[in-house]
């Protein structure tokens, strides 16, 4: 259970960043292993890529992209928080602007492909 002194947005942001980071770190070795197949075992890689077409695996990939996005924006948040001598209001506005532009450009991107 999350203890009472931790139940606030900044702590949730902190724990999301930590957990997504840890999970991505766990995934990295698998990632490199598959990449190495491209160099040494092309046939096995093709087999593997066919496997990734399965719906369940596709769904897991979605989770991976989600983790990456969470960690990426968590990192941007932290950089802004610690490196920018801005006021909290300016930071909120900046975060809103980034969020909005990602949404808009992301929609355009999805329509384009």
């Amino acid at each position: 259970m999350i203890r009472p002194h931790r139940t606030h947005p900044l702590w949730y942001a902190f724990i999301l960043h930590r957990v997504s980071g840890a999970l991505l770190a766990l995934f990295l070795p698998a990632h490199f292993w598959v990449l190495s197949m491209a160099l040494n075992e092309a046939a096995r890689l093709d087999g593997f890529l066919a496997w990734t077409d399965m719906p369940l695996v596709k769904f897991a990939e979605f989770g991976l992209v989600f983790l990456l996005a969470v960690h990426f924006f968590g990192g941007l948040r932290l950089l802004a928080l610690e490196l920018m001598p801005w006021t909290s209001r300016q930071k909120t506005l900046a975060a809103g602007a980034v969020g909005l532009s990602v949404l808009v450009s992301g929609t355009f991107f999805l329509q384009a492909v």
């Binding site: 009472p4 002194h5 900044l10």
Partner: protein
Amino acid sequence: MSSTDTRMKVSVWRGDHEGGEFQIFDVPAQDSQTVLDVVAWIQQNDDPTLSYRFACRVGMCGSCAMMVNGQPRWTCRTHVKKVLKDNCIEIGPLRNLPVIKDLAADMDPFFEKWVKAEGVFHPSKTRNDQIEEIDPASVQRVKADAGIECINCSVCYASCDTVAGNPDFLGPAALNRAWTLYNDSRDAGSRKILDAVSGAGGCHNCHSMGSCAHFCPNGLNPMDAIAGLKRATAAAFFRRRT
């Protein structure tokens, strides 16, 4: 104050630095009652051996902070109706500090860290000098003013998980004080301050979890102050190398 017949179940932590347990008291509910009122009622009407600390009762002295339902709060300005859950409240001594007895925590480590963080004024003038004029609107002064209203209550210190995990961490209040002095144009100790806050237990330990800013009863933001120190110490590091 009009009293009603309703009574509350209040769990109060009893014990000392060696350990203890919660004891349940039955306390009458009253209008506009604060958590400190509840503790005082118990001590005056039920168990005179209950130890706790307070002085001003108006949120100025910073001596009445306790854990209320697991969250650090200034009890003299926390209304019971804000924290009452299913007619129960749990009250304990501040987290991250040794307990003297019952609800009274030992504040020594907290204040020792203020001194360690160079949170003491370093005069730049003598009494024979002209009084310096300070422009309250200057950028530097606005930064200093943002952290000046600290009442040393240790609420932030009790909320901080980094303090819990690293007994050497100077903690949010001491670092907030150091940042305030660093931005005070009358203080001559900026170099000393940066050295003090960049060591092993210094500002770079902070994980920016923000519990300090969330719970500070005076609305200060020690996390921001610490971020300021992180920038200042990093800049000083590179300046010294070149």
